[in-house]
């Protein structure tokens, strides 16, 4: 995985609550056996009409937000299915950070595995950033993972929490499986003992 670099850029405002994984990447695009190339279909049914033409008032179709690297979203972003195609599509489009008051559990985990940082902030902070995001290219939001801060255009800084292990993996671009493989002895020992106690498993 690539290392996560700090981001300073335009944020797309998506105040709708409960943005679900079917909106992020509808099922017709889950048929791929690859991880890449899903960016063009990100938010497909909100972004294009029946004929495949762009819907001009959808946020990512507006000039200011075409290269957005951040999304500021309403509550409970990413609810629904476990499809990792959702972060794959976001990543492929160029999104590096999503800011919301809350995220659905599986989506939250999946984001980290793909180099995307989901930032949870209190409602007041998200409101300020949402307002910023609405200013298009006149505003820039800065996200600093090392110091765990998000800064609004006027410099107001919001501190966020992130699990230290997840942070380390993101900052160093670490591969989970490789890390776990280093603990293979512990797994072997556990498995042997467990197999003795619960032979039916």
């Amino acid at each position: 995985m690539e290392k996560f670099e700090n981001v300073s850029g335009v944020a797309a405002p998506m105040p709708l609550i409960n943005i679900d994984t079917d909106m992020i990447i509808p099922k017709q695009f889950l048929k791929t056996i690859k991880r890449s190339g899903l960016g063009v279909n990100l938010f497909d049914e909100m972004r294009y009409d029946d004929k495949g033409n762009e819907i001009s008032d959808f946020v990512l179709n507006q000039t200011a937000y075409r290269d957005a690297e951040i999304i500021v979203a309403g509550d409970n972003f990413g609810c629904g299915s476990s499809r990792e195609h959702a972060p794959w599509a976001l990543k492929d489009f160029g999104i590096k950070v999503i800011i919301s008051t809350s995220f659905a559990d599986i989506f939250y985990n999946n984001s980290f595995k793909n180099g995307i940082l989901p930032v949870v902030l209190p409602k007041e902070a998200v409101d300020v950033l949402m307002e910023d995001a609405q200013k298009g290219s006149n505003a820039r939001i800065t996200v600093d993972l090392e110091n765990q801060t998000v800064s609004a255009t006027d410099g107001t800084e919001f501190k966020f929490e992130v699990d230290p292990f997840k942070k380390e993996c993101l900052m160093d671009g670490l591969d989970d499986i490789g890390l776990t493989m280093q603990k293979v002895k512990a797994i072997d020992t556990f498995e042997t003992e467990y197999g003795k106690n619960m032979p039916w498993v």
Partner: protein, 468 residues
């Protein structure tokens, strides 16, 4: 004496293979279920890094999302991408040596129905699958939840998952359900009560008299939708019903193993005074036959209610409701029982088991669906289908005018050709009413199998209590 524990605590503690100083654990996984949509990239990842599947004997694969459910499906899959995805699973299952139920196997079906049916899912286990409705298996007193594709690869390679422990939440349903009220109504009412984010960060234990009184099928329906309430998992303490259901299944323990397993399973209950971080209590008698009106599973109301007004809500929900009423083509104040439907879908991992088909058939016996109605039953597995045929349910469905399909996910998420056209309105026994879930522009109302059957007859959302 150690501190009192919840079932979740007990299962968790029994599976920690490694714990780092910061509390990050490697949780050992007993059963890994795999389907064709979320696994190709994981197997490809193994191949690229020269890794193998650590425990193929604990890994079970079955194609379900993309498979056609028409009777002639042996001729193959028309859609090229779907076909490639199913073929990739065929190939991966063979190459990595995992248990496999191909489309041609009568035991094939929705992964969450096949697992319990074959006795793969047992009390006290950790069960994962690259699918959010893995929560279903919690009905057996197992810790079961969905994972993403990177985690699928991680479990394939290491048989563990990197996890931090969730908090404990108790959802208690006291008393008994009233006639016409089902497990589906319980689970939808709970989400209506807590919201789709109410369970975020928690593992839910469902308990109380109404839960104890449910069959195993009903308990699976309840746990299935724990994810719609945002929880990582939902589970129910195993009891005699659980043991009876498991006993004799192809992969259930036998002989001395059975006795040892049973003795252990009987320790899987929440100790008195165990700590819950959150408790929600609903009265069984207060739960009504329910239906969703919007595009989020929390948009649920008793069937005798009216469509709400956006101004009844606060904050971000006002805009969300405005948007969803427009999408659903509904007016505030409209009676739910006046909403006309044109499609009925009975099936999915929520309500595609034999008991669900029995409930729907009981409503349909001797009746016909409304003229012009498109109605289909998609059994959750080939074995459910065979049993329904044996019991004469298939005939009842066919006589009523339903299509009698082969097993798969079908119109639950419409990855195969079973889809709604824009503007079509469906009464569905599945679990998600998101925009476009059953087809672009399609409108979904979630409800129980009996209510879906009644709606097929009347052509409207119907109160099962006044249906005859």
């Amino acid at each position: 004496m150690s501190a009192p524990k919840t079932i979740y605590d007990k299962i968790w503690d029994a599976h920690v293979a490694h714990e780092a100083d910061d509390g990050t654990c490697l949780l050992y996984i007993d059963r890994h279920l795999v389907h064709e949509v979320t696994s190709p990239q994981a197997f490809e990842g193994l191949r690229m890094s020269g890794r193998t599947v650590r425990a193929p004997e604990k890994t079970i694969a079955v194609p379900d999302h993309n498979v056609p459910t028409t009777l002639d499906r042996a001729k193959g899959i028309d859609n090229e991408e779907s076909r490639i995805q199913v073929e990739a699973l065929d190939k991966n299952a063979k190459e990595f040596g995992v248990h496999y139920y191909p489309v041609s196997d009568v035991r094939q079906g929705i992964v969450h129905i096949v697992g319990p049916e074959q006795g793969w899912t047992l009390p006290g286990m950790t069960v994962v699958c690259g699918d959010s409705h893995t929560a279903t298996h919690g009905a057996f007193g197992a810790l079961a939840h969905g994972i993403g594709t990177s985690e699928v690869e991680h479990v394939l390679a290491t048989q563990t998952l990197i996890q931090k422990k969730s908090k404990n939440m108790k959802v208690e349903i006291t008393g008994s359900l009233r006639p016409g009220v089902t497990a589906k109504d319980i689970t939808m009412s709970v989400i209506g009560h807590t919201g789709t984010a109410g369970g975020t960060g928690y593992v839910i234990e469902y308990c109380g008299q109404a839960i104890e009184e449910l069959s195993m099928e009903g308990r699976m329906t309840v746990c299935n939708m724990a994810i719609e309430g945002g929880a990582r998992a939902g589970l129910i303490a195993p009891d005699q019903k659980t043991f009876d259901y498991v006993k004799g299944r192809p992969h259930a323990p036998k002989g001395a193993d059975w006795d040892a397993a049973l003795a252990y399973w009987k320790t899987l209950f929440t100790d008195e005074d165990a700590h819950f971080d959150l408790v929600v209590t609903l009265k069984g008698e207060d739960i009504a036959p329910s239906v969703t009106w919007g595009t989020s599973p929390e948009d649920v109301l008793p069937i005798d209610a009216v469509v709400p007004n956006p101004t009844d809500f606060e904050g971000g929900k006002v805009d969300a409701v405005t948007r969803s009423l427009e999408y659903m083509g509904l007016e505030a104040g409209q009676k739910l029982t006046d909403v006309e439907i044109d499609t009925v879908f009975i099936g999915s991992c929520t309500n595609g088991r034999i008991e669900d088909l029995r409930a729907a058939a009981a409503v349909l016996k001797g009746k016909k669906i409304k003229d012009g109605m498109r109605a289909m039953v998609v059994p959750g597995s080939g074995l459910v289908r065979a049993q329904a045929e044996e019991e004469g349910l298939a005939e009842i469905f066919k006589d009523a005018g339903f299509e009698w399909r082969m097993a798969g996910c079908s119109m639950c998420l419409a990855m195969n050709p079973d889809q709604l056209a824009p503007g079509e309105r469906c009464a569905a026994t599945s679990n998600r009413n998101f925009e476009g879930r059953q087809g672009r522009g399609g409108r979904t109302h979630l409800l129980s199998p009996a209510m879906a059957a009644a709606a097929a007859v009347t052509g409207k959302l119907t109160d099962i209590r006044s249906f005859s």
